[in-house]
Symmetry: C2
Subunit: 202 residues, 2 copies
DNA sequence: GTCTATATTTGGATAGAC
DNA sequence: GTCTATCCAAATATAGAC
């Protein structure tokens, strides 16, 4: 029956070109800004004219969507690669370091995934599901540590978002805020530990 | 000598129209987004055609610049109106509540002043000086409380920025994060107090 | 000061030849 | 699949009449 799926060289090359287009799109968005991305620029950088891109993506938004999905997958893969210790404080640091690094390593990706700043762009439902999966992963990990109430989760995400936002907007590429991650997590951990003790005792 | 400066009705009306244009610009930016502001829309809303705006502002960037300056002045005026108590923790809460409210009350103003998101827009030097004055005001107030080292300042601004960013991007108009301000300040205050004690004792 | 008319640029998208 | 040619729309800005 020759069950081996026969490699389709044509569609393989097609996928390769799509990947190349996305690569270029990331690079241009990094220099010109996410909103400054134009099909002309992308096409020129891959050695095409703008209309040819439509053989690979149905629209400019489709390119944004593919970038969004790629960013989500990168987050999930990186998170899978983490190894946790079982110690709550340590694991909290590991998780927070990962999130802040993930964001500051690629500000454009951060902007695309976590700020909704492209006018008129909404990820497709399938892509959005990937995004939800990422948030869910984080939430589940925090639940293992014992953080489940909304207020505590929100305070933690605020701390992470704040370090990230300050680093990106005030000193992109630097470490002035990222180096505070461990200290910030200790501060947070002491706070919720204290609160638990207080509500247990009386 | 008739030293009284004679009122110039013409330039008074001119200033009035400029103010009206700015008012409309804020409103449109609020609905269409800061980058979605167009001269056509602004002109129509004040009952003019687009070219007529050039009698009041030299360019679109000049309008952004005037909005930026106005936002800075609002921050300074609001800060002047605060009354502090002399108690460090209380005053820290007052300052933080003010900053977070100032930002979340008007997300567009926040975006214009604290995120650099308009492609190609830079405030003029005079306007930028107003912005620096605002940051300086905050820094001086924190110095009175005894917070002067860079790391502590940065951690505090990260907490404020994080609560603000989360509130604006995840629940604009709500209070899910702003209501955590006092708790966050307590957490921060306990942290730096603890650290001071630790570095004093040994 | 305000208008109409227009220049200019830019960028997404489509038609149709090859 | 890629190209040229073109369309269409939006938006800033200027010229010059009134």
């Amino acid at each position: 029956m020759l069950g081996e799926p026969i490699r389709d060289r044509r569609s393989e090359r097609h996928e390769g070109t799509k990947a190349e287009i996305l690569e270029v799109a990331w690079r241009i968005a990094g220099t010109e800004g996410l909103a400054g991305l134009t099909l002309r620029d992308v096409a020129r950088a891959v050695g095409m004219r703008a209309p040819s891109l439509y053989s690979y993506f149905a629209s400019k938004h489709a390119i944004y969507d593919a970038m969004f999905a790629q960013g989500c997958r990168e987050f999930l893969q990186g998170h899978d690669a983490l190894t946790f210790t079982g110690d709550p404080l340590t694991d909290l640091k590991i998780g927070m370091r990962y999130f802040v690094s993930f964001c500051t390593d690629n500000p454009v990706r951060y902007q695309l995934l976590y700020q909704r700043t492209i006018p008129g762009f909404e990820p497709t439902p399938e892509t959005f599901a990937l995004s939800v999966a990422g948030l869910d992963r984080m939430r589940r990990q925090l639940a293992e540590i014992g953080i489940t109430d909304e207020g505590s989760l929100d305070l933690l995400t605020a701390v992470g978002a704040g370090l990230t936002a300050q680093q990106i907007s005030n000193e992109p590429g630097g470490t002035r805020w990222t180096r505070l991650v461990d200290e910030a997590v200790e501060m947070y951990f002491a706070h919720i530990s204290e609160r638990r003790k207080a509500s247990d005792e009386p």
